[in-house]
Amino acid sequence: MGMGLKGGAVQRRYFCRLFGSGGLYLAATFAANRLLDRDAPLSVANVAIALLPGLAVLGMIWAIARLYIEIQDEYLRMLEVRKAMFATALTLAICSVWGILEMFTTVPELPLFWVFPIWCFGLGFGGLWNKLTLGDAGCA
């Protein structure tokens, strides 16, 4: 999908950053899973190992932020921002409503771990919303 004269490079950098951080996330999660029990004692080493996947998530968030900053094409940037707004609304809705259900009923707990994946799913639905309302999904 064309993005203007410099858009292809922006898109390539975005996917490199995103998939780089994503790969790091998978490796760090695998390592933490192998090295730590679910009830590992609170020590500097254990916390450091458990934080590694979190750092990789920060890398993915940074990649998304850089995309919004680097897109020069204002229409494509608007599409991406609309996707992020849709994803944020969906995440807030799911987490808030589920949280209230947790408070008053015996539904299973939704671990905070799922907040970022839910938001990422929301980006996909945001792209669909863009496609249905404007005819273009976005550029990433």
Partner: protein, 66 residues
């Protein structure tokens, strides 16, 4: 907001991609502006006007009902 972009582009025999390249934007942007799905920012409107050698208000048409 209505505009005359499609007519002006056709008069010059440019495709949407030709115009996009000249404006340094994506083809999707040109299509979105032409079809009225997206109103360009003031800087982009000025670039479009400069490219066609016209005033902004000769390309983009404001209607009171908007």
């Amino acid at each position: 907001m209505k505009n005359r972009l499609r007519v002006l582009r056709a008069e010059r025999g440019w495709s949407q991609q030709d115009l996009a390249t000249r404006l340094e934007v994506s083809r999707q942007s040109v299509n979105a502006v032409e079809t009225g799905k997206y109103d360009p920012s003031l800087p982009l409107a000025f670039r479009i006007a400069a490219l066609f050698g016209m005033a902004i208000e000769d390309i983009f048409l404001w209607e009171e009902s908007q």
